[in-house]
């Protein structure tokens, strides 16, 4: 990959980063603090959805049961794709922190592509399940499954849009090395979506009813 490393600023260079640094009484970045508080609240959100699924997974209501429709090899590949997107995301952050804009854009696009692959797989899975008789209204199992995985998919979709937005901002020169925090915030969100799927993959798909 071609390197686009930018040098560290020499004395006297206009220091946008230091200028942009805002006051914080904790010594911690307020934006990052807010993001972690948000992710903590998201734990509660997905915890509630997973709890609901575990309660209703046995209630197939005459429709297909979990073990009858889950395609473990297929979902394993989807899980692997999402897991690897976390790697490309953190490599994008490392790139912008070094001032390598081109590498950041490549890794961000790779992350978005892997995310879109995951979402494509989820759409295929939902379509297949629907054709096999499982729908949102078919049974408590169907409702809890589609709501849980659907909300996760919505989170991934929002993440993809933010990643593509970052790439667009970078191409128009609106992302500088001093804006690495923006990439880091979206990265935190993306990694969170990944770890939620780690739990969903195990609890929903792998653990038998």
């Amino acid at each position: 990959m071609a390197s686009a490393e930018t040098p560290m600023p020499s004395p006297g260079t206009h220091d946008v980063g230091a200028e942009a640094q805002h006051h914080t009484s904790t010594g911690l970045d307020n934006t990052k603090m807010a993001m972690w508080a948000f992710l903590g609240s998201e734990c509660l959100f997905f915890g509630s959805l997973i709890s609901t699924y575990l309660l209703y997974r046995e209630r197939a209501g005459g429709g297909p049961a979990p073990h009858e429709i889950y395609d473990i090899p297929y979902t394993s590949v989807s899980s692997f794709v999402l897991l690897m997107s976390s790697l490309t995301m953190v490599l994008a952050l490392a790139a912008i922190q070094r001032g390598n804009h081109r590498a950041m854009r490549v890794w961000l696009l790779a992350t978005a592509f892997l995310g879109m692959t995951f979402i494509g797989g989820q759409i295929y899975e939902f379509t297949t399940f629907y054709e096999e008789g499982l729908s949102l209204a078919k049974s408590p199992f169907g409702s809890s499954f589609f709501v849980l995985t659907g909300f996760h998919g919505a989170h991934v979709t929002v993440g993809i849009l933010m990643l593509l937005g970052l790439v667009g901002m970078s191409l128009s020169g609106k992302i500088q090395r001093s804006d690495a925090r923006k990439v880091e915030m979206i990265g935190l969100y993306w990694h969170f979506v990944d770890i939620v799927w780690i739990i969903i993959f195990t609890v929903v798909y792998l653990i038998p009813s």
Partner: protein
């Protein structure tokens, strides 16, 4: 387009000094991939899969390792301020409390989930 050299804030420079490099990230990703392969493999090993008392703890253990690795290394909780870790752990603990309450409700109602609709 020409990339302009601008500096990170002091906070970010201090954080970055403790963050691992791309090689460490790739190493973590390889470990994550191997653990995922092991998860799927034990799901298909009949001698393990036929014993839920063995299979379920193993699967939960693997998921926990993956969760912790991503949080510590990719989300930098291992290297950043413990305050961020506390915020996140608070959310997880609250989620587990909700889960405990739901399970308690489940078991105190004869093992039947509350009727839907």
């Amino acid at each position: 387009m020409i990339d302009q050299p601008v500096a990170l804030s002091e906070l970010e420079e201090a954080e970055l000094a403790h963050h691992p490099g791309p090689r460490a990230y790739v190493a973590v990703a390889v470990i994550l991939a191997v653990i995922t392969a092991m998860e799927v493999a034990i799901y298909y090993i009949s001698s393990i899969a036929s014993h839920p008392a063995v299979l379920i703890p193993m699967l939960l253990f693997f998921a926990l390792i993956k969760f912790v690795l991503v949080a510590l290394y990719f989300m930098h909780l291992k290297f950043d301020s413990p305050v961020f870790k506390r915020l996140f752990v608070t959310g997880i603990v609250l989620a587990l409390i909700v889960f405990g309450i739901v399970l308690t409700f489940f078991f105190t109602h004869g093992g039947a989930a509350p009727a839907a609709g």
